[in-house]
């Protein structure tokens, strides 16, 4: 489903991604772990289409189409979703309004009709209930004054409503307490499906006990330096990133 081929990217002339190659199959949950500065967040921004980066080489294919040639909203319509590490506030725009506008924009792009108000409300209520998000929060401006945990749960709510096919979760666990972590993980697990794939980016093994990955990749110095099964995460937890940092510096 997602194929990243030899991706190189820089910011202000400084190389960050130095040849990332990675494949995620439909139905797969792949984790990317790595030390600070390894380029994990940059990778998620580049996949989503943030403008600050110069892409010097490589491709990112979603079902064979190169995302790098598309605008961020086009990529979204193709089924890409990025759960932000630091979700933005949009003052004056109610959460419900934002969600409906986004969903309909994607559907229009895909040639589907707009969602009926009744179906939309049903979809939102179902997702909100399972994530413990109150109706009152849905009426407030998106993310304005929300706690860290509420913002992260809101990202998962959006994911549940937009029904993307390729979900990139950028350090979704950062800033979450134990209970919030469990709820978020539950939300993600509920969305696992045969035709959906996840790329879960995290520092810590902790999240991966709740969202058990099929594959774990280690990223250091702008490249994937090792891949393995879920036990690789436990290994990292025990040994740390020191070996890999040294490797990447070579």
């Amino acid at each position: 489903m997602l194929e990243i081929r030899n991706l190189h990217a820089e910011i202000d002339g400084k190389p960050i991604l130095k040849g990332v190659s990675l494949t995620v199959k439909p139905g797969e949950v792949a984790a990317i772990m790595g030390p600070n500065g390894s380029g994990k967040s940059t990778l998620s921004y580049v996949i989503a289409g943030k403008e600050d980066y110069q892409l010097t080489e490589g491709e990112v294919l979603l079902d064979g189409e190169n995302l790098l040639e598309m605008e961020p909203d086009e990529r979204a319509a193709k089924g890409l979703f990025l759960a932000f590490q630091y979700p933005l506030e949009i003052p004056g725009v109610a959460t419900m309004t934002f969600l409906k506008a986004a969903l309909n924009a994607q559907r229009r792009r895909r040639g589907e009709g707009e969602i009926s108000p009744a179906d939309f409300i049903r979809r939102v209520n179902k997702a909100a209930d399972s994530l413990g998000i109150s109706k009152e929060i849905l009426r407030r401006a998106l993310n304005v004054g929300f706690s860290g945990g509420e913002k992260k749960r809101m990202e998962i709510l959006q994911m549940a409503i937009l029904e993307p096919r390729m979900c990139v979760l950028d350090e979704t666990d950062s800033g979450l307490d134990i209970d919030a972590l469990r709820i978020v993980a539950q939300g993600v697990n509920a969305l696992r499906a045969r035709d959906r794939a996840f790329l879960v980016i995290t520092h810590y093994q902790r999240l991966l006990s709740h969202i058990v990955p099929d594959t774990v990749h280690v990223m250091a110095g702008g490249r994937i330096v090792k891949s393995g099964g879920p036990e690789l995460a436990t290994e990292l937890e025990a040994k740390g990133y020191a070996d890999f940092s040294a490797q990447a510096a070579e």
Binding site: D12, A48, G49, K50, E51, D52, Q54, E71, P72, D73, R75, A76, A77, L80, F81, L82, F84, P87, L88, E89, I90, P91, G92, V93, A94, T97, F98, A101, A102, L103, A105, Q106, R109, A141, Q158, L162
Partner: protein
């Protein structure tokens, strides 16, 4: 940085020439001789069949104007206006003034149809209350048609062009004309008093709630003319009227001057709601052409418990210079000002309001939303003052500015003067920028750049849009979105 470069590239590529009301109408027009002189004034007055007192009023205004100096304190820049190069009267040869629509030049009718202005009275939409709107259509210097006059007359409401009101109801006009904006008030008001051509007159009798929305639609067409309309609205004791003003103009290379005067009078317990959706041609993408909108609007809350509210959505004009104001004379009177001023391209806006608290226990509310994009400059200028006898005066002001892109400017110039110790004036102001990150977040969710800006802007102006009559709120939303097209980077 690539993001900034893209913004710059996109700003350069703004197609401001998408102003879709920019067409002009080929029509036979009759014009006064160029320039300002007693002869031109007499010509205008004679054309309108005005009584002697009004001609004298005009001539006196012209005499006074010649002694005045053009003000230049606003935060706007423009080349000197050559007042002798303008035509002060231009009317379509056929179809000026009262008469049936059959007598109106068909090109004129087509123009208003193209603009979406309903000149033929429309049957009530089944089951939809308040769907009819009476329209007075003003093309260059004349009112072309006023709809629903008979029905309004049944309720006792007078709604006509001011030229007609001068002929049919001279005593009313004479009583109130110039009582809110005196001839001496300011350079442009004095000029207007000398050469005003047409506008609307409304009188709502005691205790009457006007049965439908009233509106005037102004269309400047002829080249090198100025438009100087004069509107006078009087709400007698206990009455209510809601009035809407709309305006557009064709695209031309030279600037055109629009110096209007609007006077509102609300007597005891009366209420006037005045809404404006202004979309004069803003100039092309090089900043060439466009209307100079230098307008004096003032409401006198003369009666006890009277209320006047101004709601404006300003998206057009090369330069907007206006301060719809309220004189809170009557005890317990209320004034409100709700404004959305959008500027893009090379537009300049210096707008705001004055709330003058004179009576006891008066209150005022100001909500101003400025949105600046492109290379424009957007200034809010407001005065809230309390006379020393104005005990219990209260004001709440909230002015917010939103900047889109890095080349525009937003400024706030609030004046607060209180000469009474019991006055309570609150002022809140914010300036914010649509951040690249916010736009990226919206786009990652599937909204394209324009949709993202529209969503954010709508959230920003929601409080003010809510004040507009419903049908016009929708139009205003669309207009704001169109005005901001191409502003994103």
């Amino acid at each position: 940085m690539p993001a900034v470069q893209e913004t710059v590239d996109r700003v350069k590529a703004i197609d401001l020439d998408q102003y879709k009301w920019g067409f002009s109408t080929e029509i036979e027009t009759e014009k006064a001789p160029k320039g300002l002189s007693d002869e031109v004034i007499r010509f205008i007055s004679a054309k309108k069949g005005e009584p002697g007192w009004l001609l004298d009023w005009r001539l006196e205004a012209l005499r006074r104007w010649r002694t005045m100096e053009e003000p230049n304190w606003a935060r706007v820049h423009h080349p000197k206006i050559d007042y002798d190069e303008l035509y002060y009267y231009a009317a379509p040869k056929r179809g000026g003034g009262p008469g049936s629509l059959d007598e109106v030049d068909p090109e004129l009718l087509k123009t208003f149809e193209k603009l979406g202005i309903p000149l033929k009275e429309q049957a009530v939409l089944a089951g939809v209350e308040g769907a009819r709107v009476a329209v007075d259509a003003v093309f260059d210097s004349v009112s072309v048609a006023t709809t629903f006059k008979e029905e309004l007359a049944k309720a006792g409401v007078i709604f006509s062009s001011i030229s007609e009101a001068v002929r049919e109801h001279p005593e009313l006009v004479r009583k109130y004309l110039g009582s809110v904006v005196p001839v001496t008030d300011n350079f442009f008001a004095t000029l207007n008093s000398a050469v005003f051509t047409d506008g609307s007159f409304v009188y709502v009798p005691k205790g009457v709630r006007c049965p439908m929305e009233l509106s005037t639609y102004f269309r400047i067409n002829e080249q090198n003319t100025g438009q100087f309309e004069r509107t006078l609205i009087i709400a007698d004791a206990g009455s209510y009227v809601s009035y809407l003003e709309g305006c557009t103009a064709p695209k031309r290379d030279e600037n055109q001057l629009h110096a209007a005067v609007v006077e509102l009078v609300a007597l005891d317990e009366a209420e006037i709601k005045y809404s404006t959706v202004q979309n004069w041609f803003p100039g092309d993408k090089e900043g060439k052409g466009g209307i100079y909108n230098f307008v004096t609007k003032r409401g006198d809350c003369r009666g006890r418990g009277s209320k006047i509210s101004w709601t404006q959505v300003e998206t057009g004009s090369a330069i907007t210079w206006k301060y719809p104001s309220c004189i809170l004379r009557g005890d317990n009177s209320q004034g409100e000002f709700y404004s959305i001023a959008v500027s893009n391209g090379h537009q300049q806006v210096d707008s705001g309001t004055k709330m003058l608290h004179l009576g006891k226990n008066t209150s005022s509310r100001i909500i101003s939303k400025g949105i600046a994009a492109g290379r424009s400059d957007n200034t809010y200028r407001g005065l809230v003052s309390a006379h020393r006898k104005a005990s219990g005066a209260r004001n709440f002001t909230n002015c917010d500015s939103l900047l889109i892109g890095a080349d525009c400017g937003a400024h706030t110039v609030p004046y607060i003067e209180s000469k009474n110790a019991s006055a309570v004036f609150e002022h809140e102001a914010t300036t914010s920028k649509i951040a690249e990150d916010q736009l990226f977040y919206c786009r990652q969710r599937g909204l394209n750049a324009e949709e993202a800006v529209a969503l954010i802007v709508n959230g920003f102006v929601k409080d003010v849009l809510q004040q507009l009559p419903m049908e016009f709120a929708v139009e205003a939303q669309k207009l704001i979105a169109v005005s901001l097209e191409g502003s994103v980077g």
